[in-house]
């Protein structure tokens, strides 16, 4: 039942993570004692109700929490402790070794810069590409996330894109430098089913072909079921259930997980077999 990989092979290990935001009482910590781990190339799904601390945990890994937030516990990325790491050592990791897809696409996009300029930036900074090389790569990335006429779109501004198009640009940016860990916070919320399928395919290819580790937050359990190997269920800042997707979805132990799955079953009208029977 327990984790199989020895510590040395871990891509990411979060141990006893705790986050308290300024102006809130310690007993109202947004994240309280969260632990999970990922092997390279593995996909971990993070699910849980609104406000349970999923985005806070993701931002803590990236060192991007609001100023004044108190972070304790340990976050190791390929053996390096990230908690307390100075900003100048975190910055080179962001966007290169660790890609982040923000929950809110507009939080990641600069409204006064073209899409092309924003896609080129990390490519030139981290991979030392020429402008022309970066342009070619940007076109390829936009095409990969299903944006029509990608070359024309390089000169567009974020407000000229639809909600789903922006979300896909942010995904393209996050994967552009081939990170070893991709953190994707609700990456498909604004996408219709056909585009969603395409983006999920892309994420699945990245993990399978390039061995990228994927930490995916989603309230859509079918997305998590399809992509993830393991899943952690959060509630009120803690992980209440953690296991393989099969353990968690077929034999949910925690009452909250059972409730969650019951609602899905009702909505889908296509029951997941709770007992694991055929």
């Amino acid at each position: 039942m327990s984790a199989v990989a020895p510590g040395g092979e871990e891509l990411l290990a979060v141990r006893d993570l705790r986050v308290v935001f300024p102006g809130t009482r310690p007993e109202d910590a947004a994240v309280t004692g969260v632990s999970f781990a990922m092997n390279p190339g593995q996909t971990l799904g993070l699910v849980g109700e609104s406000g349970s601390g999923k985005s806070t945990a993701c931002l803590a890994i990236m060192g991007l929490l609001a100023r004044g937030a108190t972070v304790t516990g340990s976050i190791t990325f390929r053996g390096t402790e990230l908690v307390g790491l100075p900003e100048r050592r975190l910055r080179p990791l962001r966007g290169k070794d660790i890609g982040l897809v923000y929950q809110d696409p507009m939080a990641a996009l600069n409204p006064v810069k073209t899409i092309g300029a924003q896609l080129r930036e990390p490519l030139r900074l981290h991979l030392g590409m020429s402008r022309k090389q970066a342009d070619e790569r940007a076109v390829e990335l936009l095409d990969r996330v299903g944006i029509d006429a990608p070359r024309d779109k390089l000169r567009s501004f974020p407000h000229e894109f639809s909600g789903g198009m922006r979300q896909r640009v942010v995904i393209a940016m996050a994967v552009s430098c081939n990170p070893t860990l991709l953190i994707a916070d609700e990456p498909t919320t604004a996408l219709d089913v056909s585009v969603q399928a395409q983006v999920l395919e892309l994420l699945s290819d990245l993990t399978t072909d390039l061995g990228i580790g994927l930490l995916i937050v989603s309230h859509d359990l079918s997305v998590v079921a399809g992509l993830a190997d393991d899943v952690a269920v959060m509630r009120h800042g803690s992980v209440v259930e953690y296991g393989s997707v099969h353990q968690v979805f077929q034999r949910p132990a925690h009452p909250y997980t059972r409730d969650l799955l019951a609602v899905v079953r009702e909505l889908e009208g296509d029951p997941v077999d709770a007992g694991g029977r055929p």
């Binding site: 999923k54 809110d104 604004a190 079921a225 393991d230 393989s244 997707v245 099969h246």
Partner: protein, 283 residues
């Protein structure tokens, strides 16, 4: 299916919206976001809008509330054409509210939740001044947020919490029609079910109407009397929901319905990879 009355609450006729880039040096082809869209929403009715990303759903919503200027076509409320004048738009705002797709940029980052929700109460005088705080607490409770969140700014809220503040703001002015653009996209199933129930309750009690945009077909099926399917700026199918789901007519509609993933299928794929850190995999 309920029959729309003689003059529907909202009537959109042959709306055309084209975006032309006005850059000094850049010449990009114009984007035909809406190519003659018509639809009607009756009183107490919910019309669902589905369609591919980029098909023009948000543009339609934004044009109806006067945020985009149409090249041609009209928007009418209870039979009266809403002209693009300030007066007519102010009137529109009282009766029509919008929940925007992007919950972060549609909230003022410097305003507390209390100020955000109090504004429509003050402007539309729906409650006396002394009752504002109580009414805000009530609105928060309706969207399952603690009253203690009143002092928070948008950056201090989770994604789903921000989306619920947006919904509460739309409800605050007690409109007749709510145009909701992906209103529940960042909500987990249990909160989503609660919000949808609230919207339906208000419809039963007050005859509220909805133009409900969502890519989530479960949600659209659950909410709508009539479903409009859009593709590339045009309406390709209009049907009451029973007909749509039983006998989809247009190719794209069939595609949409077929692509709806189910958890069971997805689980089977995941198990086949066997990359879990946990030892027991099903046989």
């Amino acid at each position: 299916m309920t029959h729309p009355p003689a003059a529907p609450l909202l009537s959109v006729d042959d709306l055309v919206v084209t975006f032309r880039s006005r850059g000094l040096f850049t010449r990009r082809p114009p984007v035909h976001a809406l190519r003659g869209v018509s639809l009607h929403v009756g009183r107490g009715q919910t019309v669902g809008v589905v369609g591919q990303s980029g098909s023009g759903k948000s543009t339609l919503a934004r044009t109806v509330v006067g945020l985009e200027r149409p090249d041609s076509g009209t928007v009418s409320l209870s039979g009266e054409v809403v002209a693009g004048t300030a007066e007519s738009l102010a009137g529109l705002r009282r009766h029509v509210q919008m929940v925007f797709q992007d919950s972060l940029t549609s909230l003022n980052p410097r305003r507390s939740v209390l100020a955000t929700l109090a504004e429509p109460l003050i402007v539309h005088r729906t409650v006396p001044r002394s009752g504002i705080r109580d009414r805000v607490a009530e609105l928060l409770q309706a969207v399952d947020l603690p009253a203690g969140y009143m002092a928070r700014r948008p950056a201090q809220l989770s994604g789903g919490q921000r989306q619920r503040v947006n919904i509460a703001r739309a409800l605050a002015s007690e409109p007749e029609l709510i145009i909701a653009d992906e209103p529940t996209s960042s909500l987990d199933v249990s909160v989503r079910a609660q919000i949808l129930e609230l919207l339906q309750q208000l419809q039963r009690d007050r005859g509220l109407s909805y133009l409900f945009i969502s890519h989530d077909l479960h949600v659209v099926r659950h909410m709508s009397d009539v479903v409009v399917v859009m593709k590339s700026g045009a309406v390709v199918e209009v049907a009451d929901k029973a007909t749509l789901y039983a006998t989809p007519h247009h190719e794209y509609t069939k595609e949409l319905l077929a692509a709806s993933p189910t958890t069971r299928l997805a689980l089977a794929r995941s198990a086949a990879r066997g990359r879990s850190r946990f030892a027991d995999q099903p046989g």
